[in-house]
């Protein structure tokens, strides 16, 4: 069923179809509409979720942790400072191996305060142990919210999953979205699988124990194993979802006109759509360019990305956030991924779009056109759309 809806509505519709046992959520621009739509569903009896209207994002995720450990299926959503407040407990949710799916309406972090899009919030949670997926449009946000539930709850994974969608650019713009029938979506997501739930009072378990140097390391190693289990499950879930939706999701990233490309761009989120237009324009002029748009950012699919980029001459890696004091986080991921290759493409790192700064097709065309002139990979940042 095709509908013209915002990214928020697409996420809310996926949540309605998933119908989690508990949604604990706190409003923040530009995420608030998700909380509003869902409260509307609850208050009109469309879903039978327990809505916990918490007093902060810290409590939102804390309540989710309690509910997930209790044996319920739980979801939340946040943005920017909200995620920053959550980060302490996000690490704990991952450490306790709790499947919690969260939409993150990507917004810049203060200061200065700004409500518009960049990826500094997602980057803040980079090492939290949460799986992170990036979406180009509302359709992907809907699709990956459904898929995220399966990934999070897989018995070999049991980790929080963040579905990133660019604040305002995706959350507030109306786009055509194909929704699955409710029964089809519900069947795909399936019943929530419990693991030693707190509410099984006949089999009491201790959740969140204290681990000293004699065990901490092994427990964290086990958590890493959960991350390592993600790629295989991700592919399986994609395959199954492609069958029921008719939309093709195959792999950890979308490769757009990349097969014979001499120059490539790597970018997360909605700017990939702009980059595709830049690729088309340059292809029309005879320049062999292509795009790599990661869906899965954590865990980072390094080998597959290296394979996809091995034959290009140069790659522009775009980061929509600083990692102050070093290069962009995505750039460092890509550089590390390429390191094992004997012949590596030249890399350039561009910082773009901070605090909602618009990034245009001509700007990305210029970035592509710059690539043939770059003689070697340098440890220096370049900027798109910055007044200097």
């Amino acid at each position: 069923m095709r509908k013209a809806i915002t990214g928020h509505k697409a996420i809310a519709e996926a949540m309605r179809q998933i119908e989690p046992d508990v949604v604990a959520v706190y409003p923040i621009t530009p995420q608030s509409e998700i909380a509003e739509y869902y409260a509307d569903y609850v208050h009109n009896g469309l879903v039978h979720t327990e809505l916990v209207p918490v007093e902060s994002e810290h409590s939102a995720l804390s309540a989710c942790i309690g509910a997930a450990a209790a044996g319920g299926r739980v979801m939340t959503a946040t943005s920017s400072q909200g995620l920053a407040l959550m980060v302490e407990v996000l690490y704990i949710a991952a450490g306790m191996r709790l499947p919690i799916v969260m939409a993150l309406a990507n917004r810049s972090l203060s200061a200065p305060i700004n409500i518009h899009c960049d990826h500094s919030d997602a980057y803040l949670a980079r090492d939290s142990g949460a799986v992170q997926i990036f979406c180009e449009n509302a359709q992907e946000a809907y699709d990956y919210t459904l898929m995220a539930q399966r990934i999070a709850e897989d018995m070999n994974i049991r980790l929080p999953v963040i579905v990133n969608l660019d604040g305002f650019t995706l959350t507030h713009t109306v786009q055509p979205v194909d929704l699955l029938e409710d029964e089809v979506a519900k069947k795909f997501v399936g019943e929530c699988k419990q693991f030693s739930p707190l509410l099984d009072v006949d089999h009491p378990v201790t959740w969140g124990p204290f681990a000293m140097p004699d065990y901490y390391f092994e427990l964290k190693r086990a958590q890493q194993a959960g991350m390592e289990a993600v790629p295989e499950v991700f592919r399986k879930v994609q395959e199954e979802f492609s069958k029921i939706s008719g939309r093709q999701y195959a792999g950890f990233f979308e490769a757009y006109k990349l097969a014979d490309a001499e120059y490539a761009m790597v970018v997360l989120g909605s700017t990939a759509g702009t980059a595709k237009m830049a690729v088309d324009e340059l292809r029309a002029r005879g320049m062999k360019v292509g795009l790599l748009k990661p869906w899965l950012w954590r865990p980072f699919p390094a080998e597959e990305i290296a394979e996809a980029l091995r034959n290009v001459k140069a790659v522009a890696v775009l980061d929509r956030a600083f990692s102050f004091g070093t290069m962009g986080a995505l750039f460092e991921d890509v550089a590390s991924a390429l390191y094992p290759l004997k012949q590596r493409p030249i890399l350039a790192n561009y910082i773009y779009g901070l605090g909602g700064r618009d990034t245009t097709v001509p700007e990305l065309v210029r970035a592509f056109e710059e690539l043939p002139k770059i003689r070697k990979t340098e440890w220096a940042l370049r900027y798109i759309g910055l007044r200097e």
Binding site: D21, V22, A24, H48, T49, E50, V52, P53, V54, E55, S56, H58, S59, A60, S62, A63, C64, I65, G66, A67, A68, A69, A70, G71, G72, V74, E88, V89, I92, M96, L198, L199, D200, V201, P204, V205, T206, W207, G208, P209, F210, A211, M212, Y215, L219
Partner: protein, 315 residues
């Protein structure tokens, strides 16, 4: 009301909090935890924030808990139990759980008065069905006796030590019981480890409500108060007798003082038995400081009497 015999029988039948913990010798916390859990008949799920009880009861791979128990962080126990309770309600509605389960938080004063106050206030306002028990030992004992907003005025704490310029903690302690009562929840009480039957009765009365319930229990810490290891009960008893820590309840807004000491015992009698107040008896300023402490005890006691008079249930 649960008698000593009933409490003992329940403990014998199957301890909910076992001896496998590493709390200090003389710590009052296990007495409070066992009394509270034995005063509840239904199955329980317990949450604790970071603190003495958490660290001493859950060292992996062991556990002292024979009931489902969860710890997440320092400031969020009330939010965590909110989520557990919400999941319970959801699964109950779906017919996946049929038994009645009750929810209890055991938290220290740091995790309640200070860093956990926002989460507690939020959970009280939302009306979750849980009992929050503050194991109030009046400082951050787990991390080495740092001052909290529950620490009494002029007590010496490691972050508010007795010094030449400033004689201990300069500020008065926060009256959290009244702050909680202001949320309008149906059951709020103060109790002490010295009066365990009173505590058990309070738990039983509290658990009649399917709303938030709060009990602030004065829980002696011999290490932090610098008193002998066998003094926990006696210390709390003196706190009650001196009217420093009144035993009272606010049930559906009605105040009831559970115990009114017949004689007026000066607070000095309680202060002089504790190392954390020792400087008050050596410093030339001590007399004046003790007088200030006494004035505050009297002021709060009078206020409580007035509240009971104005908002009492009538006897």
């Amino acid at each position: 009301m649960p008698s000593i015999k009933v409490l003992a029988e329940r403990e014998e039948r199957g301890a909910r909090f076992t001896g496998g913990h590493t709390l200090c010798a003389g710590c009052a916390e296990p007495m409070v935890v066992r009394t509270v859990l034995n005063a509840i008949e239904d199955p329980v799920v317990v949450a604790s924030p970071t603190g003495c009880l958490e660290v001493a009861s859950s060292r992996f791979p062991g556990t002292a808990w024979n009931v489902p128990w969860i710890h997440v962080a320092f400031e969020n126990a009330a939010a965590v139990i909110s989520g557990v309770e919400a999941a319970y309600k959801a699964l109950q509605k779906k017919g996946k759980i049929s038994r009645r389960i009750r929810f209890v938080v055991f938290a220290g004063d740091g995790g309640t008065y200070d860093i956990g106050l926002q989460a507690l206030s939020g959970a009280l306002e939302r009306g979750h069905d849980f009992l929050y028990v503050c194991l109030n030992n009046e400082a951050y004992m787990n991390t080495g006796v740092q001052r909290s907003s529950a620490t009494p005025r002029y007590a010496s704490a490691t972050t508010a030590p007795y010094g030449e310029a400033i004689p201990g903690k300069p500020q008065k302690r926060k009256d959290l019981t009244e702050i909680v009562a202001a949320h309008g929840i149906p059951y709020v009480a103060q109790a002490a480890v010295s009066h365990l039957i009173d505590l058990a009765n309070k738990v039983e009365r509290a658990m009649k409500y399917e709303d938030p319930k709060f009990i602030n229990v004065l829980t002696t810490c011999p290490l932090g108060w610098r008193t002998p290891r066998d003094s926990a009960v006696q210390q709390a008893k003196l706190a009650v007798e001196t009217r420093y820590w009144p035993l009272y309840e606010v049930i559906e807004g009605q105040y009831k003082i559970n115990y009114k000491p017949k004689e007026r015992v000066p607070v000095e009698e309680w202060l002089k038995t504790q190392g954390r107040f020792r400087h008050l008896f050596r410093d030339p300023r001590g007399k004046e400081l003790i007088a200030q402490i006494q004035a505050e005890v009297d002021r709060r006691w009078e206020l409580l009497l007035q509240k009971e008079k104005c908002f009492g249930g009538g006897e």
